[in-house]
């Protein structure tokens, strides 16, 4: 049994004096897809932010590749791709410029990612061919989302943490994104995803939150 990629032990989260998650423990292995489900306000986004290190209002232990995550923050961030509610795409820049700054801020150089497609190729693959140079504010909501999703193609990462990635995506795009996620898992990457959609993926595990007073269920 190989070591888990991400291990969560006795995680407790509170928000506004309400207990969201109590005593959560699970493991995420390479090649696994875990969907976090629950009604609005059940703590899905909070959990994802805690797991990414954006929020430290929690009790419990987080382990990354066998070591405590707080000791290997840089390594964890280098291998994680986080795409939240707010995509982080700058409206005044073009899709290509956006992808470029995101990669450069992460410190990804061409040497790190020889197998990744070029930025233009990735934009073409997500359906933004011909829109590489226009400012993002001229695009539709769905197209803006696709710029964020192009990151999945160009950013090398072992763990994908996606918060509601299917927002504003049409049916065709949903199928494509599911294909991307499946492909990532097949190559040994892991995916942590929240979505209101019913996902059609192989090997999908589900973590149910919001069952009352911090209770949860995983299968």
């Amino acid at each position: 049994m190989t070591a888990p990629l991400l291990q969560v032990e006795q995680l407790e989260c509170e928000r506004d004096d309400r207990v969201l998650i109590k005593n959560l423990s699970f493991e995420l292995y390479n090649g696994e897809i875990l969907q976090v489900e629950g009604a609005n306000g059940s703590g899905k986004t909070t959990l994802l932010r805690v797991l990414c290190g954006l929020s430290d209002e929690f009790q419990g232990e987080l382990t990354w590749c066998g070591r405590p995550r707080r000791r290997v923050e840089a390594d964890f961030r280098r291998q994680t791709l986080y795409c939240g509610h707010l995509t982080g795409i700058k409206m005044a820049l073009s899709p290509r410029e956006n992808l470029r700054w995101i990669l450069q801020v992460k410190g990804v150089s061409a040497a790190d990612a020889p197998a990744q497609p070029s930025l233009d190729q990735a934009l073409h693959d997500v359906g933004l061919g011909g829109f590489e140079d226009v400012p993002v504010y001229t695009l539709s909501a769905g197209q803006k989302r696709r710029v964020a999703l192009a990151r999945l193609l160009v950013e090398p990462a072992r763990l994908w943490v996606l918060d509601e990635p299917f927002t504003a995506i049409d049916r065709h795009g949903v199928a494509e994104l599911e294909g991307l996620i499946q492909g990532h898992a097949a190559k040994g990457g892991s995916v942590l995803i929240t979505s209101h959609h019913a996902l059609e993926l192989n090997g999908l595990r589900s973590l149910q939150l919001g069952l009352g007073r911090g209770a949860w269920q995983i299968n």
Partner: protein, 231 residues
């Protein structure tokens, strides 16, 4: 792994500087409004206090410095607010690069885009306030040394309050007491030059503040950003 970190750290900072400058030039309002504010505030003083050269010459150092200070304060809201609202701040926080380096880059870009225009326009306003050439030169030096410190201090305030949608007055209340040493030595340098006294000491103090601010402020800014994104 370690070898790849070195160039990447600076490339992250440079990427942010380049990105912010490009965005500032495309959204010119954030760049130009502090400049107009600076000019208008200085123009208010002759209107409010009478146009006699004697009076204006006397108050000119203080007026130009306080106007620059207030312009910096006004412009700081645009430093992190947009990044916070569109999620770019979270992406920056998720970067494996040290946050204080990236934050330093952001403040530097902001200074280049908002304070540098002020410094370029200051000589014209100095002439309007009847300052002589030497005094104007020293004003430029003092602003060049002092405005980055003001930017760093306002950035600390902005980082602590970016998650709150309460407007810039809170940042003003936080930052203004911390501006005072820079203001004192900045105006003193200009006044000394106006009277023909030596001013190098005051400029040296400003330079010392600059080094202190560059060394320590980025850590406070980074901590403030993490706290703001946390909540």
């Amino acid at each position: 792994m370690a070898n790849q970190l070195e160039p990447a750290m600076w490339s992250g900072m440079l990427a942010i500087i380049k990105r912010d400058i490009v965005i500032a030039f495309r959204q010119r309002g954030d760049m130009v409004n502090p400049l107009f504010f600076f000019i208008m505030v200085i123009a208010l003083f002759p209107l409010g206090m009478g146009p006699e050269p004697g009076t204006l010459q006397k108050i000119a150092p203080g007026v130009i410095w306080i106007a620059a200070l207030l312009s910096t304060l006004l412009s700081v809201d645009s430093l992190f607010r947009q990044d916070f609202d569109d999620g770019a701040l979270e992406l920056t926080l998720m970067s494996p690069q040290p946050l204080f380096v990236l934050a330093f880059g952001k403040v530097l870009a902001h200074w280049l885009v908002t304070a540098l225009p002020l410094i370029c326009v200051a000589p014209v306003l100095g002439v309007m306030m009847f300052m002589d050439v030497n005094t104007i030169k020293v004003t430029l030096y003092s602003l060049l040394l002092g405005t980055p410190v003001l930017s760093m201090i306002s950035a600390i305030g902005a980082a602590l309050t970016v998650g709150l949608h309460k407007g810039g007055v809170l940042v003003a209340v936080i930052a203004l007491p911390l501006y005072i040493p820079v203001l004192i030595f900045g105006t003193s340098a200009v006044e000394a030059a106006a009277m023909g006294h030596p001013f190098a000491g005051q400029l040296a103090y400003l330079a010392a503040f600059l080094i202190l601010a560059f060394t320590f402020a980025p850590f406070a800014i980074a901590t403030g950003l993490r706290i703001s994104v946390n909540g």
